[in-house]
């Protein structure tokens, strides 16, 4: 279709192709192969080609010249006739706009996260929504992404965590056998419903907090963006399955207390991503993880055990990312550790006037673990819940140790964690 003749300029023959059929693509393609100021000859058979080509060239900043009468005649009778080429329609001289637009364009990092220099510490605000690795035209609008520093949000294992998260997505409709038969005493069922009501409230917070920060994140940190997005989707499923379990026997949902909401509100109110993810993911969801394992082990029915098991798998990833990115941040700025400690103290002070974990939830957990009103069973359930609290404390201390806190510091800080678990 395109060939180079003996003339000093390249000739393109677009045959019968019209401009309303995409002829500009072939012209543009031919122009990219010549330098600015050089020209191509355009041959074609559409009688309207020259009209459209003229308008297109004007808009694109290329010079358009009609061939003189002699060239036209030669085109029809000479070379063109013998070779079957289309008539000569026009000459197009390449303008500078095509290259001018990309002057000072920047490559926005590299797509492959493992490549050297792929993810920048401080990506430009004008890279905006461009794909990481794209070439970005200079002069674009500045986007206000408040989370645009790698130190603040990155973690070394992020690509792996995202891959795991994407692979571990489960469908609430099929991952749980909602029809599995079981019978519970009505009071035990009510205890399960109360615990589910409490879980939903906590999951609402666990969904909204990362969602809030997700909207502030520079998309250059693609893997973190993807991971947070999946985290939000995880919580959406958790809200669904806990609600579905709570209403499985047709009852109404349980109670929501002021102290529970006050505790969660401090998470939503925290404007700093590092501190919010510390309080939510490392301490809150970490503690929550113990609770889900507890339910998986001690819940009185198979559906509750299954939903707790599935939710725990997801929450473990959320905790892993929280710990990972705080480790990354601390490794670059050790003073972050004292800010984390201060955040726990601040939250403790803010919640010091509120009530303990709501009695309804605590009692429901005991009854749920007991499975009946028999005194011996209640004693056993109570003991299990006491062990749960110890496990929660141990888990928090272990994660704080991973962040570099001494054993004494970890013990002290863990003891200040909200009594509302999350």
């Amino acid at each position: 279709m395109t060939k180079t003749g003996e003339s000093p300029y390249r000739t393109i023959d677009i045959e019968n192709l019209r401009f309303d059929q995409g002829a500009h693509l072939l012209i543009k393609h031919a122009l990219t192969s010549i330098a600015v100021g050089e020209r191509i000859a355009v041959r074609g058979r559409d009688p309207e080609l020259a009209v459209h080509l003229r308008g297109w060239c004007r808009a694109q900043g290329h010079d358009f010249t009609l061939p003189d009468a002699q060239s036209k005649t030669e085109s029809k009778t000479g070379d063109a006739h013998s070779t079957g080429a289309s008539p000569l329609m026009a000459y197009v001289t390449r303008g500078g706009a095509l290259t001018g637009r990309w002057r000072n364009a920047e490559r926005a990092g590299l797509a492959d996260v493992t490549a050297q220099g792929a993810v920048l510490d401080h990506p430009s605000a004008t890279w905006g929504l461009a794909a990481r690795g794209a070439t970005v035209e200079a002069g674009g609008p500045r986007f206000l992404f408040t989370l645009s520093s790698k130190d603040e949000i990155w973690a070394d294992g992020v690509p792996r965590l995202y891959a795991q998260a994407a692979a571990a997505q489960w469908d609430p409709a099929t991952a749980i056998n909602w029809d599995e038969p079981f019978e519970l005493p009505s009071e035990v069922e009510a205890a399960v419903v109360q615990v589910m009501t409490y879980l939903i409230e906590n999951e609402n917070a666990a969904l909204l907090v990362p969602a809030k920060f997700l909207a502030q994140l520079h998309p250059h940190f693609r893997e973190v963006m993807q991971l947070l997005a999946i985290q939000v989707a995880d919580e959406a499923r958790h809200v669904e399955v806990f609600t579905r379990r709570a209403t499985l026997r047709g009852g109404e949902l349980g109670l929501s207390t002021v102290s529970g909401q006050a505790s969660l509100k401090t998470l939503l109110d925290e404007p700093d991503f590092t501190l919010a993810s510390f309080l939510l993911s490392v301490l809150g969801e970490g503690t929550f993880l113990n609770l889900l394992w507890f339910l998986e082990a001690h819940a009185p029915d198979p559906v509750t055990r299954r939903v707790a098991q599935l939710a725990a798998q997801d929450e473990a990833r959320h905790v892993a990312f929280g710990v990972g990115h705080l480790q990354y941040h601390i490794s670059r700025d050790p003073s972050v550790r004292s800010r984390l400690a201060a955040a726990i103290n601040r939250r403790y002070d803010a919640l010091s006037q509120t009530a303990d974990l709501n009695e309804e939830v605590f009692d429901a957990l005991v009854l749920l673990a007991a499975g009946s009103w028999q005194p011996a069973a209640i004693a056993e359930g109570f003991a299990k819940v006491q062990r749960l609290k110890v496990e929660m404390d141990n888990g928090r201390r272990a994660r704080l140790a991973k962040l570099g806190f001494s054993a004494d510091e970890a013990a002290a800080l863990s003891s200040l964690h909200t009594r509302n678990f999350m």
């Binding site: 019209r18 401009f19 309303d20 059929q21 009688p47 309207e48 009209v51 459209h52 003229r54 308008g55 297109w56 004007r58 808009a59 694109q60 900043g61 358009f64 303008g95 500078g96 706009a97 001018g100 637009r101 002057r103 000072n104 035209e137 200079a138 002069g139």
Partner: protein
């Protein structure tokens, strides 16, 4: 009259809301380069030309028709106006007269007794020049064929392409036998879906003509005009700072002004008796 001579004041017609963004952008650009610049907006070119020649501002961003009128008024008063600069996209335009592909109209002569859809009455590209083209080929508008106007935003000299688009729609709806538009707009109307691909045929193409220009009025301070000219022609499409402005204004580079490209329009203005020789509005029922 412009009250001080340290600020260059430009007049422009607000044919679209983007006009404010464009001139605010130019104002900031000129300010960054040390030229005090401001602009005033008019709702139509007629009032702008009159205000310009009355000395209310220095330089007008004029449509080709506004240039013709400004030049005539100035000449009648023994004054001069100058076409200082224009966009690359203002040079060498043509208009086309299109028919439906399945139409029995094969030559311009076949338009006798037919209906030709045009744009606004004051549109050089979609009305005045195409009708002059037909007249030169023996067809007198309104006598040999019916002229179907699509008056969208009178006084804006067809800058708003709504009139051309309405003419194209009229053609496809069968209300007209032919329609007039700029060559580039024919392709635009096809790509945007106003005209189905392959549904039209170009019956005629006018001679080439030029479009807008920066017109310098008699009261403009020369040193400011020269600075304005140099900064304008110094704008580079490679410069990310000004490229968005150039994209919005639809050009890749500014060029020196020239007036040869207005001869076709001047002839059309006389034929239509749009303005008289002294730049007075002569056409009847012109609303703006």
């Amino acid at each position: 009259m412009v009250s001080n001579n340290d600020t260059l004041v430009l007049g422009a017609v607000a044919y679209d809301p983007k006009v404010v963004t464009i001139w605010e952008g130019f104002k900031a650009y000129f300010a960054r380069h040390g030229l005090k610049f401001d602009f005033v907006l008019y709702s139509n070119y007629e009032r702008q030309v009159e205000a310009h020649l009355a000395g209310h501002f220095h330089i007008a961003w004029n449509s080709p028709l506004a240039w013709v009128r400004a030049e005539r008024i100035a000449r009648a008063r023994g004054q001069q106006v100058e076409a200082l600069a224009m966009r690359d996209t203002d040079q060498n335009l043509t208009s086309v007269i299109v028919v439906r592909d399945d139409s029995s109209i094969k030559t311009v002569a076949d338009l006798k007794g037919k209906t030709v859809a045009v744009g606004a009455v004051d549109s050089p590209q979609a009305t005045l020049i195409p009708l002059s083209h037909l007249r030169a080929r023996g067809l007198v508008p309104g006598v040999d064929f019916e002229v179907q106007n699509h008056d969208v935003l009178g006084g804006k000299h067809g800058d708003h392409i709504g009139g051309e688009r309405e003419a194209a729609r009229s053609l496809m709806a069968g209300r007209a036998d032919a329609a007039c538009m700029i060559d580039g707009n024919l392709l635009l109307f096809i790509t945007e879906g106003t005209l189905p691909p392959g549904a039209t045929r170009i019956l005629a193409q006018t001679d080439s003509y030029d479009h807008c220009n920066f017109t310098v009025g008699p009261s403009a301070p020369r040193h400011l005009v020269e600075r304005f000219h140099d900064l304008l022609l110094g704008m580079s499409y490679e410069d990310a700072e000004v490229r968005p402005l150039m994209d919005m204004e639809g050009l890749k580079e500014w060029r020196e002004g020239r007036v040869e490209g207005y001869r076709t329009l001047e002839r059309a203005v006389d034929e239509m008796e749009f303005y008289d020789k002294d730049g007075r509005i002569a056409i009847q029922n012109y609303r703006y």
